[in-house]
Point group: C2
């Protein structure tokens, strides 16, 4: 943008979308939304914003009065980061349209509310118990037995704030770190694999769901997504869609919602939801007719949803801490590089690579070439 | 971008690409290049720049000293507009890397040089003659006969500066408007259809060519591209690729080059070339494995070219002067809207829609739905 350009140029026609958070998700939302004629304004307290290449970034706290004024001038406000303070979001919703709903934001911020919401909607989960005192913890552990997982109710992501308890010693260590209040104890789920379902709901209530994908983590961070997930029966897909559909309706949701699921035996247990575009949906940029980013922008702008059908099998590899040599990656047929432009730091998601193939065998071959370039 | 952000943030790692011209082609170059980690700086004298959403736009003349200073600080400079003054481009090439070459820029700016280049490389064209006096015009008309086409050597686009001569009265009218110097007279080609070939050459000399596409114009402005062009034999595709390949090598070209061709009987005649991404290649954003925009960015950054294979049949419809209702367009399966964010003015290219389909019949059906929404 030209340095002195006002936010609304005389020449500009498109809607202005405000985004809370200016990370790579915001960047990819704008890359998908600019072709639809939208313009983007990002609020993120960090000075360095990957989204700043694709819109106007203001380095402000989410709750700053200047941020509220800027966002109130937007046609619609959304978020790429679910830990926005609910009070700040409420003030925005009082002044302009906020999607997804405050209800969704508040629910997703608190593991207890989230899991209770799942239970209310008959969405299967691991057993879970609120912990707000040493007595609660003792009682809950009697019900779950070891192993169990103790989590903070709020502000956990990428495995942070989570402790697997296999013994009394683990309990002591976990309590020393995170205390005995504002927690959730969950039964340990010996899951076979992790899947996720990404879906969207438009303002008119119509919905669209991508096929279930299979996710592989290391140290709590997503490394690889396979799309579609192998060996998913139509019944399992339908069952997962019914759960996500129930959530979308219950939360009066507009936008993209991701649901992480554990597969245990023949069952899918809901682990958590993300009220935003999701890392496990990055493959959709090349791997689906409509990307999750475009889908979210379409929804919040009141436009019809696009087709979530896949263009074929694909895989997404996260670049953690470092970026691979682009020459080597781009020499792989149908490999697509996404560099978030972030400073390289250990454990940080700094980019991803999506690779497509005409069939699963060719995909496996291309993955075998790409993996050593990336990890 | 945040208002006070310097062009190179401390946090930024990616190459800075300078672009002469800040129209929709620049905008789409950046939308394709930002995911590769590149950042974009646009020089365009117009205050309102469609590319300003996706990079830093400076409203400066191409030849302004401030523009040269900014561009000299870029890792590579390219152009999305071939009428950049050659002297300004030369000054840039003296200070940093310029792609495509000065030779390509100078040749494409002048229809006489361009056609002479085609002749030198044995690329078939309509008969053509330089006109720099009334005598030249008379002599040339004797060779071509009526009808013939009188064109300015420089600064013509979208049919501007072109006169079809069918009678002496047409000659008088044309001369009254464009004179008798700095012109080119061409034999009229009763072509069956117009095709274009888009290809790219990387810094290492490797090349990639998209399939030939079929273009339909109205009032000299492209309206519709069908990809691939129907009824193209492998021999015809190969012959067109050989011509473009000869041009790429001759011009020591790095980037995307488009060649417009007339099909006359069994032959293809070269009409003109564009040393940049081209309107008839917009379909590649969704219709090819690698878009022409990403292909150009890969080339100028010294990265390997991507696959130019199509994802299936597709069509691109230009939005001229007005934009269609996005609700209606996006309700068509696999339709993709590209709004350039420009002020709406008659005759101006303000956006395009690409539609894909699994087969030609479904494509025709979707086109039948889209056409009345757009024209």
């Amino acid at each position: 943008m030209s340095s002195a350009k006002p936010i609304r140029e005389a020449d500009a026609r498109g809607p202005l979308v405000g985004v809370l958070g200016g990370g790579q998700l915001g960047r990819m939302l704008a890359l998908a939304g600019v072709p639809l004629g939208a313009r983007f304004l990002f609020i993120d307290p960090n000075e360095a914003s990957p989204a700043g290449e694709t819109g106007e970034h203001f380095a402000l706290d989410y709750a700053a009065p200047e941020a509220l004024e800027l966002l109130a001038g937007c046609d619609v406000v959304t978020y790429e980061f679910e830990n926005v303070p609910v009070e700040a979001a409420r003030a925005i919703a009082d002044r302009t349209t906020l999607h997804p709903s405050l209800h969704a934001l508040a629910t997703a911020q608190d593991r207890w509310l989230e899991k209770s919401c799942f239970r209310e909607l008959s969405i299967p989960t691991a057993p879970f118990f609120a912990v707000d005192s040493p007595g609660h913890l003792k009682d809950a552990l009697e019900l779950t037995g070891f192993p169990a997982v103790l989590k903070t109710r709020r502000l956990g992501y990428d495995g942070k704030g989570q402790h697997v308890l296999r013994s009394e010693a683990d309990v002591t260590a976990a309590v020393a770190e995170i205390g005995t209040t504002g927690l959730l104890l969950e039964g340990f789920v010996p899951f076979e694999r992790e899947l996720s379902l990404i879906g969207a709901r438009a303002a008119d209530g119509s919905t669209a769901f991508y096929p279930l994908v299979e996710n592989h983590h290391a140290n709590g961070i997503l490394r690889l997504t396979l799309a579609p997930a192998p060996d998913v029966s139509p019944e399992r897909q339908r069952s997962a869609e019914e759960h996500l559909s129930a959530l979308l309706t219950h939360l009066d949701y507009v936008g993209v919602l991701a649901l992480e699921l554990f597969q245990v035996g023949g069952r899918l247990l809901a682990n958590e939801m993300a009220p935003r575009v999701h890392n496990s949906g990055h493959f959709t940029i090349e791997g689906a007719i409509t990307s999750q980013f475009e889908q979210h922008v379409r929804a919040v702008l009141g436009l019809p949803l696009g087709s979530p059908a896949l263009t074929g099998p694909s895989a997404m590899l996260n670049c953690i801490g470092t970026m691979p040599d682009p020459h080597a990656v781009l020499a792989v047929p149908d490999a697509h590089l996404h560099d978030y432009g972030k400073a390289l730091r250990p454990g940080r998601k700094v980019g991803h690579v999506t690779v497509r193939a005409p069939d699963g065998l060719t995909l496996a071959e291309r993955l075998a070439t790409l993996r050593p370039l990336i990890w």
